[in-house]
Symmetry: C2
Subunit: 138 residues, 2 copies
């Protein structure tokens, strides 16, 4: 039935108006969101602090993940199903459109392995590509 509530329950979180609202923005909107996007656009009014705490909780429970950015803003996007609790599996490439300024998770593109200098041991890698997105081309 209701996807939004299911996600919250699966994460063992109480289903509250605020959480439903915020999660809905991720599920329906599709793209990446910043704290400010959420604070401004929720239908119900939600306190700033609650937004911070909700995002933090969602990250901890594997509902959303932080997106690396090149301009030190903080962005979040929905995780895939197999993320949970403290364990994320979001090693995909992120694409930032310089026209519409939206950030897309390219779930199907994984970060390539590269050859590091001798002595460096890689554990995790992130890749951010900037360019023109599908909708903004031509």
């Amino acid at each position: 039935m209701n996807t939004i509530e299911d996600i919250l329950k699966k994460a063992k979180l109480n289903v509250t108006e605020g959480r439903k609202n915020i999660l809905e923005m991720f599920v329906l909107g599709g793209g990446a969101l910043a704290h400010a996007d959420i604070e401004k656009n929720t239908s119900v009014s939600i306190d700033r602090v609650t937004v911070y705490r909700t995002l933090q909780t969602f990250v901890e429970r594997g509902i959303i993940h932080l997106i690396p950015t090149t301009d030190n803003t903080i962005l979040y996007a929905l995780c895939k199903d197999n993320c949970s609790d403290g364990h994320h599996h979001d090693e995909h490439v992120h694409f930032i459109c310089i026209t519409c300024n939206k950030t897309n998770c390219l779930e199907e593109i994984t970060v390539p392995n590269i050859q590091l200098p001798k002595g460096f041991k890689p554990i995790q890698a992130a890749m951010i590509v900037k360019g023109i997105c599908l909708h903004c081309k031509n």
Copy 2:
């Protein structure tokens, strides 16, 4: 003769105590630095605002470059010689050691090209690798 002053002069900047001090930290230290590192460790006391403005100026003149991070902190490192004015050529991989917490520019490793989904046009790419660095291994 004095490398520090040369770099400043080449960038058409006045040679001041503050700038010499900050630039020296980059040249001697070798690694990446955050605003806070600089504010705390300069031998002469330099105002917060001046540090901000100095870093900004150095970036504009191609002396240092911003380093992308995954935790939305802002880091800077020395540019290679061929960066100047507003034109940077720092598309190398950055390595963050999870032990010593230092960030290294891997100047010789360029960010690999990848195949994006149809319709996405790449313009610039960044890659950040986390792991254990040369000095912290074993």
